[in-house]
Symmetry: C2
Amino acid sequence: MIASASSVFESRQEAFLADLFSFLRFPSISTAPEHKPDMLACAEWIVRQLAASGLHAKIMSTGGHPAVFADSGPPEANRAAPTILCYGHYDVQPIGEQVLWESPPFEPTIRDGAIYARGSADNKGQLMTHLAAVRCWKEAAGQLPIRVKFLIEGEEEIGSPNLPAFLRENRDLLACDDVLISDTFKHDADTPAIPYATRGLLYKQLTVDGPTRDLHSGQYGGMVANPANVLADLIASLHDNQRRVTVPGFYDDVTPLTATERHQLNQHGLSETNLLAQTGSPTPLGEEGYTATERGTARPTLDVNGLTAGFSGPGSATLIPARASAKVSMRLVANQNPDKISRAFDEALRRICPPAVRLSITTSAACPAYLRRLDSPILQVAIASLASTFGREPILTREGGTLPILPLFKEILGADSLMLGFAVPDCNLHSPNEFFHITDFHMGTRCIIQLMGALGAGG
Amino acid sequence: MIASASSVFESRQEAFLADLFSFLRFPSISTAPEHKPDMLACAEWIVRQLAASGLHAKIMSTGGHPAVFADSGPPEANRAAPTILCYGHYDVQPIGEQVLWESPPFEPTIRDGAIYARGSADNKGQLMTHLAAVRCWKEAAGQLPIRVKFLIEGEEEIGSPNLPAFLRENRDLLACDDVLISDTFKHDADTPAIPYATRGLLYKQLTVDGPTRDLHSGQYGGMVANPANVLADLIASLHDNQRRVTVPGFYDDVTPLTATERHQLNQHGLSETNLLAQTGSPTPLGEEGYTATERGTARPTLDVNGLTAGFSGPGSATLIPARASAKVSMRLVANQNPDKISRAFDEALRRICPPAVRLSITTSAACPAYLRRLDSPILQVAIASLASTFGREPILTREGGTLPILPLFKEILGADSLMLGFAVPDCNLHSPNEFFHITDFHMGTRCIIQLMGALGAGG
């Protein structure tokens, strides 16, 4: 049956490309209030697409832009088949400077085998592989080989503010065995990739207040605490000489890297030469005992994101600043508990902060890391589907960044996520001239058709 | 003869007050190009005043606003009498917000026994005591009891940029035994003060460059050095746990405080209660083993004056900043050598800075401290003159701030400076409604008459 569904796709490629173009023409910019009608029109278009594939599809309201939900129901011939929740988003980033676009951002244009349009890679083009796959299955077999649900939101580009509440309120509706997401990248043009881990994020704002106004450093220098000096002491205390984070218990719960994982990460990770070429840094630096790739993806870190105190203009001002502030963030890894680390961080700083200043600490983000077990059967089916479609084994990667939806799906729905991305890494994501290769659209659709079929056949 | 000169003053107080009012009416704001003609007119007025007292007075050009120089020549009856160089400035601060002035800043107005005008205390009113004193001596005795020179510059409020070159080029012309400056404050309304020490200043700008652009902390966090974290390490390294500065050799040349000086400083220094009330700081903090007054006036310090790095807006940005900068200044005391400390500071930071970033350090100010020997005969005469005029012993103080002209006069002219100030500390210096008490103008002039007479009589 996989062959039948695939041949439907091969015979109707032009029609699916036309559908994708229709999808891309909606200027569904979630951050722009004037595009609210376009958002709704785009969501309604998706409902019609999914209904045409036989799913029960509807628009559901959230606190913000609406979401699309759809459900195929269990396949009649295989009521025990697994349920996959396809997650994606129909909103796109703003276009930035219009003059930098070589063709209009909402008029998809093909150049050199790629579709240029805002949202072509992130996320409409990649999401279209799911829409096309269910259509092909429906037309080839009259029904899907597994139960497929869709959750397509309209607020991903603004941080999914209403998603956590939506998931909690619709836990039963969204129940699934795994979440399928095509919103990431291949490893390179020829090699597919599956990220199986992301880091968490703990974001802190530190404010050190000393005198009630800036003081003359001649008149008071040496008499009272300088908040900027104290802030430097606090920040410096957070690392030891081996660039390990000193927050008590910071590493206690960290899931260690296995030898196999280290080998795999370093084999395909960023080389030191490429790291320095990409960043312009003179040499790498980080926690001793780990490679740069390990430190940047699988080890927790602590970075200052901003410092503010006193006089920053040209020239000199001899003052003791009344206040010094820092933004400090930590990237966490599995199995660190953000709340526990957050408390330990605050306590460590309060313990060493002198009473000669007032320290306040606020937390603006606390998101856990995500790590999927590599021996998961669904993951193994996905690996096989990618390998057979691309003719090459996918690379299993850990991402250094944070994707809050992954631990959210795990926590609320109890489901792991499968990240199958088909875009190339340099696809101008969030920039002008975003593109998605037509061949990647084709390969992606074939891969999803295959994955659904294989899951329906029991792996 | 002191009595005669004093009685001239008593009989002509109204005329001297009128002269001061004329002086104050010049809007001699050195920073404002549109007041250049007023600057010159004011300098010419001073020349006429000094010429009327029998001095050879002239305008001398500098690289900027002109200076007034005058010389009485040696007294005929006492050719071995000492030479005093009266230093002052005829330029004033800008007025700030006009609406905050209760009377026009350049129309001197008497309220509650005080003269309100820009420059009334800083420095025209105080300088007028010198001009009046030489006039009284000339009228009472036909000549001055000592040789008096005047150097009255027009760029003090903009940092005296042309003074060092002017002093070097006119070293012989300006030769003197001591410099007399009335540009400071009394200890309080009733008690005169003589500052005999000021601190030096060494001002540094640190720039730490890492990656060539801000990086995503998820993508690269842990891989390369974060310039803001490194900057915090560098700054924190500059103090030890006793809040002593760790720059090697920093304290080696410091002239220690004697037990007598410590007693004197603490007796009249800022109490902890007043320090906390003035600053709003929760508790004092500084180098262990010294009181706040000692630390703020007679001990060297190191303060961060500004910090800049990365994202400082509201909310969160997860980035590794490309650059982090700090402004750091040190207040130095006698007998620290700014150049030696400067080199040691740079070397200490370069030694601990990791090669994963580029550190650049620039020096924007390097001025030594000033300390006058308390057993100087001229100082003893000044103490006696103040005591007899005010009926109260002056308090000998150390100033925490920096006055570059004092070490400059010492270095170039080989002369110590005598700081006899007559304004009250809360005279709205550099602020709206600056004032100078008429009684302080009178007391100051009597004191200068007496000082000149006593110096002419051999102390």
